[in-house]
């Protein structure tokens, strides 16, 4: 089985929020509104955000029949705001989550979801056939099909008998 060089933090999405095991749960019911404001700030900082404000989406990658599949959850992102590029074994995903339905009269009570740009690059274990790359976005889940380049496939070499 091929390995991926880019070592990443393997965090289940269940660990995304600070709230699980929150020791202040009981206290919060009394002073909910005040704590909510702070908790909102805390959970936002849980996203893996670079100083430039770009966060790195999490990826699941697997291989089947000499094809790599990369899957990423991009809720709230429109198809036209996703950009994929593949060059050799370098895979780059860019996406922008635009603010939706921002009403002027709205006040924010909780903010765990961040908007803005997301970017992720990955060094794949072998060269990809860039022309064969396909991507499908469905219900906020993007699945990218990355077929192995012919040059990277194992070839059976016939030994000629003289």
């Amino acid at each position: 089985m091929a390995t991926i060089r880019n070592a990443c933090v393997r965090t289940p999405s269940s660990a995304r929020s600070l709230v699980a095991g929150d020791p202040f749960a009981a206290l919060r019911s009394d002073v909910g509104w005040i704590l909510d404001a702070f908790r909102g700030a805390d959970t936002t900082s849980q996203l893996r955000r670079s100083p430039a404000g770009v966060f790195a989406p999490r990826l699941n990658v697997w291989e089947q029949n000499e094809t790599l599949y990369a899957e990423v959850e991009l809720p709230g992102v429109k198809q036209e705001d996703i950009e994929l590029s593949v060059q050799g074994r370098q895979f780059t995903l860019k996406a922008e989550r635009k603010m939706s339905g921002a009403a002027d009269d709205a006040s924010i009570h909780r903010r765990e979801v961040a908007f803005g740009e997301a970017q992720r690059s990955l060094q794949l274990p072998y060269d990809i056939d860039a022309d064969g790359v396909r991507a499908e976005l469905k219900n906020g889940v993007l699945t990218v099909t990355l077929p192995k380049a012919a040059s990277a496939k194992a070839r059976k070499i016939t030994v000629n008998a003289q």
Binding site: P12, S17, G32, H109
Partner: protein, 126 residues
Amino acid sequence: MNTTESTSSQSGRHYRPDVNIRETSDAFLLHLDMPGTKAETISLTFDNGTLHVQGDVAPRQPDSTEYLLREYGVGNFSRSFEINRRIDAANISADYSDGVLTVTVPKAEDSKPKKIQVKVEPKNLN
């Protein structure tokens, strides 16, 4: 509006969707990230002041899949919200698109902000 943690991810079977909660003059709007579910598998219940949101997510790859990279888990979503405000429970509505569930919780008519007219006494011209 508070959230209860009774259905947190600690069970290992449910994922807690991230949420943004906004308040307008008419309603509370909950935007929950629930990628990979389907509108027909999402259930919403409001009982005794608690709004419970549940969305089933079918596995997208067979169990035997060997991942080269596995940075997130996939499973059902579940989260509860304690609503300690006066709301119009009969008219809660929800819409699912692009993996985001938007729940509109209208405020009770008598709890909406009202504009109060300040009466101006006619000037007493003497």
